[in-house]
């Protein structure tokens, strides 16, 4: 006979959490504001991720999009692409989900202090980057210049429209945006995100570039940062991989010997440029 023991010690046991607010961001992305049932804060660092469970459907790794300076709840922005994320889109406030984490190494906030920061976000790369942008804006005096370059495929795919509107007007930061394709109404820059780089001037030694976007974007955006003279160890990226377990066991997120869920997802370019499969 098999003895079944119940303990509270499994790495894979989620904490229950409640959806307190949802907001459709675009056709594909929905924002979920979540509170842990324990009443505690998530206690994350900007750039970390959580494993979100829908019991009966599964679990998926999702970046935390809100800054830890926001207390009481946290936000995820979810693109409906897989079983779990499509089901998450159907949830209404009051629904319960499971949360494990936060996991991974977030952005090196301490190292960024006093530096100029060049944020480069492609598409839903803005989701994890927003956790750091809002953190920096909330502690504005700790940092130097704040530049944000944001590229979306089309104007309709821009996320966080209210925040973008504030950033456009803000005296606290320099915000540049582009779309790959216009919808006819768009008045701004058209072209891929690399077309924004010539428009900015920076002091490369004082500047840290933080780049998050789809896999294809990294090669080109990193090159642009290098052209600007930013050293490799001041170019920071967050890599997407299949982080199934989040705790360094299941093997899916490996890049060579690196476990992205433990050693990343945030890396500086000097750490990963020789990893064959990284970029």
């Amino acid at each position: 006979m098999t003895a079944v023991e119940v303990q509270q010690t499994s790495l894979y046991l989620p904490s229950l959490a409640e959806i307190v607010r949802t907001e459709q961001l675009t056709k594909m992305e929905k924002l979920l504001e979540i509170k842990l049932k324990s009443g505690q804060d998530l206690g994350h660092q900007p750039g970390q991720f959580v494993e979100v469970s829908l019991f009966g459907i599964g679990e998926a790794p999702i970046s935390v999009s809100s800054s830890p300076t926001k207390k009481g709840s946290f936000e995820l922005a979810v693109r409906a692409v897989g079983n779990v994320t499509k089901a998450l889109h159907r949830l209404e406030p009051g629904a319960l989900v499971g949360i494990r984490g936060p996991f991974g190494k977030g952005f090196p906030v301490e190292e960024l202090k006093g530096k100029d920061i060049l944020f480069v976000a492609g598409g839903i790369g803005l989701v994890p980057l927003r956790s750091l942008i809002n953190y920096v804006l909330d502690r504005r005096s700790d940092f130097g210049r704040v530049l944000v370059l944001f590229g979306a495929k089309t104007p309709a795919e821009q996320l966080f429209l209210k925040e973008l509107a504030q950033w456009r007007e803000s005296k606290n930061m320099e915000y540049w945006e582009t779309v790959d394709r216009t919808d006819g109404q768009w008045q701004g820059n058209v072209g891929v995100i690399t077309t924004l780089f010539p428009k900015i001037t920076i002091d490369p030694q004082k500047t840290v570039a933080v780049i998050v976007g789809p896999p294809i974007m990294y090669r080109f955006a990193i090159l642009e940062a290098q052209v600007k003279g930013i050293p490799d160890d001041q170019i920071i990226v967050s890599l997407e991989r299949r982080m199934k377990c989040g705790v360094g066991k299941c093997g899916h997120c490996q890049i060579n010997q690196v476990y992205v869920c433990q050693d990343g997802p945030v890396f500086n370019y000097a750490q990963i440029k020789d990893l064959k499969e990284a970029i």
Partner: protein, 344 residues
Amino acid sequence: MTLGTIEKKIFPSFIESLIREREVVGVQEKVEGKYEFAPLESATQLCLEYDVTILPPKKYFLPPRETLLRFKTGKTVSCEPVLESRPLIIIGVHPYDLKAIAQLDRIFAEGNLDEHYRKRRQDTMIIGVDIRRASPFAFCKSMNSATVQEGFDLLLTDIGEGYVVTVGTPPGQKLLEKHAPARAATEKEIAKRHEIQEKIPYLFSLNTVTTPYDELPKLLAQQEESKLFEELAEKCFGCGTCNLVCPTCYCFDVEDDLALNLTDGERFRFWDGCLLDGFAKVATGENFREDRAERIRHRLFRKGKYIYEKYGEHGCVGCGRCASACLPDIANPVDIFNRLKEGK
């Protein structure tokens, strides 16, 4: 290290006594010349003179499918962990598999302790046996795994008229005292055990890696761009059998199972393999190791470089199971390492 001797005529009663006390699995001949670890009902089923088993004993610590959680969903949502385990004795584990188990012990404990694995492992006692026959695919001499000094509760060495028993742990000592009042080994028996163990690595003399153990990572680093992986990929089925039979492969996937009442369910993990097409694929459709050649390279580098750099020992113990199980015959690490060395 305590050494005892169990004479062959009383050895079956030792096994029968263990079987009476708790669940025992041991090596058995499944079909002619093919062996497996399976539950023992009597001592006569046990076969300690085997070359290699089809699957390694890891299936007892990391089952092919294992429930992690039970949950309720719907109007009320709740979940609880499931830690299934039972006392077990495994008899007949060869040194290469003992090394593999010791490596899994480290991997599942390190950083984040995996309680599901740990509990099963803790509830299991292992009686190893020194190798008498080599599998033609095994290359244990090259992987320093032909004999071991640790990783067992008891280790049996067949010296002809009996088994010299090496006690590896205090629970092993107790088990021996309770079930087989073994007498102390004589000097002559100890000398014979020593002589036999000295010769075991030479059972593998015909199948050796030409690169020394500690230089494999360097070789692989130099050969990262080798065309060999593409050549192998042309024949590879991408079936993942090499992962399936490997004693050190531990990657798993996780899924939910929901009962027909749409309320009760469980979350379970199951063996996955880095050779399988979707292993590194994310929901957006991006596959980070889309080419089979990249996946073959990844498996080989796991076995001969990455694990070594992290733990100081290779993720390959030289059992040869992947080589023998691979249908298109392209998974043999000896062939691959040696061809990389020759640069062709």
